[in-house]
Symmetry: C3
Subunit: 163 residues, 3 copies
């Protein structure tokens, strides 16, 4: 199932073209937890792993995956998070800004380019939301991710007043 | 030293039986930090490692520990966090809901079932608090935890108005 | 480029001497993200890696780096975060308290002393801010950090009313 992304903030970011990016299905929780939980205007999102239409994008950067494949996987995580947000609050128009992002990369010991991988998620968010999409983050390499995914991305989002 | 858990939200969740779970001693900080810090109605909790009455539950899932032992260790982490909350705000009745949980599993490279391990913590929280216990989370595998613990669990909690 | 730390909270913590610690240059983002983002009175900071005047402090604790070198690296991370805060809000006087800190240590599998390493950051924050510098935290060992840094430290800070 695919959704078409209705680009938010058209009024605010007139320079940014609508992109009509296709959104994947929102993540189904792989355990006993929620995909999103709201506290006031903050929307906390669970970590989502890298998937495409065929299933989980698996592997280890520096072993059977390149940094470029990692970047693409991180971008997929961010797309899934957009679908989660849309499902949680009805529309991406509700997003005031992206606050923070924690990116975990399934990587070989000593892999030094986790930021380049996680840029795949950050670039997508800035593409979609413009400046309000810029966020703080941490990007670390770990030895094991759920279902052997290449990347996991966790986020916190600020919602606009009125949503 | 053990506390008896007085089940919170009896008025709200009449269907949930009180459980009288024994609570462990709250975690003593293993470094120069606090176990809990409050900002408004949010209570931030430090990561706690898996322990039982005998001390730290140590080991690596996929090597000398099974996923089931990891699940039990994660449950112990959540129990300790309940004791930390009780100590910090006086009663588990103060808990409006569990917002988020980050679970770190000491696991061999490529271990794919971190969510099943961290369910040990999530299941316990839902058992104790019912629906308000449901939370967002991330579950990742790491190569090293304090005192070689099997699991570390970090949480953020929303407190009820009036507490 | 170095800044001199103007010690905050002189009125509040009369016992604490001003320290005149030299601050490093604030971190330049190593990817497409912000160093700091504010939501209300909370200031979220990106993870910063360990650096000194010569560049990145690299290596793996338990392999080519000792825990003491890790401690010193964590302290450097916290110093950089002070410079980030100063740049973001104009002065360290704006800091009401340090809320939380996540410390990632580049460590060999099974390294059990991540808390001792991350104390390097926690000790510095308490040295500078006194009791309000005490925070919750998690300290985990990971297999890969950006630019092969020894330590990465991510923080959340509460700002004083009026700032």
């Amino acid at each position: 199932m695919e959704f078409v992304l209705k680009y938010g903030h058209m009024e605010k970011d007139m320079d940014s073209p609508a992109r009509g990016l296709p959104l994947p299905a929102p993540a189904k929780a792989g355990g006993n937890y929620l995909s999103a939980k709201r506290v006031g205007q903050l929307l906390f999102l669970s970590g989502v792993i890298s998937t495409d239409d065929q299933g989980v994008l698996t592997g280890t950067v520096g072993a059977d995956r390149t940094p470029e494949e990692g970047y693409a996987a991180a971008r997929r995580c961010a797309l899934t998070q957009l679908a989660v947000i849309q499902q949680a609050v009805g529309s991406l128009d509700a997003v005031e800004s992206i606050v923070s992002l924690n990116g975990y990369v399934n990587a070989v010991p000593g892999f030094a380019d986790t930021p380049k991988v996680i840029n795949g998620a950050s670039d997508l968010l800035i593409e979609v939301f413009g400046e309000p999409g810029r966020h703080v983050r941490a990007a670390v390499g770990v030895s094991a991710l759920p279902r052997n995914a290449i990347v996991e991305v966790q986020m916190t989002v600020l919602l606009r007043e009125g949503y």
